[in-house]
């Protein structure tokens, strides 16, 4: 399966009526903490500059700031103390392929960003995995 991020964004925008094509392409200049973390600098690619910034500003939307997930009519799984995170390849695979309703957010990240956030989550929130993934691992996990 090959799926381009751009077409994802375009399709989403069409239905939303946000119409990405209406927006000047250049991202807004950095302001305040954005300059450090990269938050709110991207439009169709994340601008976050560290794994921690990516987690706090993106992943936390669903998995929550404490990584404990959430429960409504359905649930978002906790990433805190999650034994599934032991397999780094699984984490990268979910990010690049998506899972159930989760979009393949890794496709909106660079290889470096995807590796950084994977390493951050696997070494925080009660997860203590010592091995680290590399940008090359992230690249290899992308759909071919």
């Amino acid at each position: 399966m090959k799926l381009k991020t751009l077409s994802l964004i375009a399709a989403a925008s069409a239905a939303l009526g946000t119409m990405a094509t209406e927006i000047a392409a250049a991202p807004a200049p950095l302001q305040g903490d954005a300059a450090a973390t990269g938050v709110f600098t991207g439009r169709d690619k994340f601008g976050e500059t560290s794994g921690e910034a990516m987690y706090r500003n993106v992943c936390a939307a669903c998995h929550m700031p404490d990584a404990k997930g959430a429960q409504g009519a359905g649930m978002y799984p906790a990433l805190a103390k999650n034994p599934k995170l032991e397999a780094s390849g699984y984490v990268l695979s979910v990010m690049m392929q998506g899972l159930n309703g989760m979009p393949p957010l890794g496709r909106m990240m660079s290889d470096q960003q995807a590796a950084d956030v994977t390493n951050y989550v696997r070494s925080h929130f009660g997860n203590r995995y010592k091995d680290r993934v590399t940008p090359a691992d992230a690249k290899a996990a992308r759909p071919q």
Binding site: A14, T18, A24, A28, M64
Partner: protein, 530 residues
Amino acid sequence: MSQNLNPGMSKRDLLSLIGAAAGGTAMYMAMGAFDQAKASNFKGPVKLDGRAKGKSVLILGAGVAGMTAALELGRAGYQVQILEYQDRVGGRSWTLAGGDSYTELGGATQQVGFSAGNYINPGPWRIPWHHHGLIHYCHELGVGLEPFMQVNYNAYVHSTSAFGGKPQRFRHIQADYYGHVGELLSKAVNKGALADTISKEDGEILLESLRSWGALDKNFRYVKGRESSNRRGWDKEPGGGLTAEPIPSQPMTAETVLRSGLWRSIAGNLTWDHEFSIFQPVGGMGEVAKGFERAVGKVVRLNSKVTAIQQSEAGVTVNYLDTKSGAKMTASADYCICTIPLPILAQIDMNVGPELAAAIRSIPYSTSCKVGLEFKRRFWEQDDQIYGGISYTDLPNSQISYPSSNYGAKGPGVLLAAYTGGVPGYELTALSPQERIAKVLEWGSQIHPQFKSEFVGGVSVGWHRVPWVLGCFGQWSEEARAEHYKNLCAMDGRIMLAGEHASYYGGWQEGGITSAIDAITRLHQHVQAA
């Protein structure tokens, strides 16, 4: 201005013009690769001929899809019941007004403090004229429609990297873009640069059309004067009496308009999904839910969380939890129409075939975040003369939409001050409701400096934190569509899915309605054949 056709134009010339127009349409269709560009397949009021044979149908979800199914199946004689997770009907057909409260995943509860009559629609907010199914039910169920001001020439387009960050009027950008493109193309025609492409005769027609389209002067130039000011407005507008004479305004240069990037704002208003006429329900999108509730509310059981869906030769059994009492309940029927959003359904124990099971697990849900802000007064009308419509910006809030009703009201007004997807959609959702509002005030004040001094309060909905859908809408890729769409819609034993996710209308209520009608029509045929 409407009589611009050259009086000397022959019938043949006119026919060529029409041909050119048809070519443009064909080109648009070819370019409009989005599935959403297709017309509604609503074929008029539903008529299910034949008997229901005493059969019962359990419907899961009281959004517009589930309630359409209940309404029409009930009319055909089926016994219907709907189970709904929330304490209200409507699903994403939803309005947040003063007195409402909303609790998102993570536990943050927002009490909406808007004044009477002010609201936002967190989900769908407009109804194109060609969404025939939804409009049919609005008419039938007594839901009033009013124009949604999709295009406002006096609203702003804004880029942080153009004009020193100063917002521009949409009218100036559109008029100057059309004008300069018209002049440039005229020059190409006059230089014979298109001689290989169109005949001399057609070139002359093209020149006339460019003069009309671009507001060019008699020499095919887009310059300061009556023609251009009739589009972009005057420095001093025409009046009455001794000081009446208008003074034309100075168009921007072609380079300025092109380099600003603000021409990107023009095309969106031309899309099939956003062309006039486009409507909103009077009083908010929640009125659609109320209309359906008047018709089928009596068959809806609220506060019912589905936990398992099992089918057998004998029928379908659904286990659910009464979320108020905690009691474990069971409902059974001959058939089931399931409209539960896929991220939720993927987590529910369900015995269906592998194809449907795979389809349910394969559709990611889009991000989207809306922030509504209330201000002490309608400064956009009073100070900026903006009555409805949308301003666009490259800031993360993407757009500011002004209310399309109650123009001139003296009291507080509510803006949709952010409606954004993509990267900023996730990033806004990750913030707390208070932080979202603080960010949007910061961004919005770059377009309307009144934001900070006039602010009263606000409410935000990041769709990935909505407990009953976990995202905004099903985001189909072409690959997923090819692999899973037919499997998702096909009848699986006694179960069929419906909802916007089972349509080519991602994110629109018309998809929910037309998919429900398609599902119940096939179900009825199945019952007739059995």
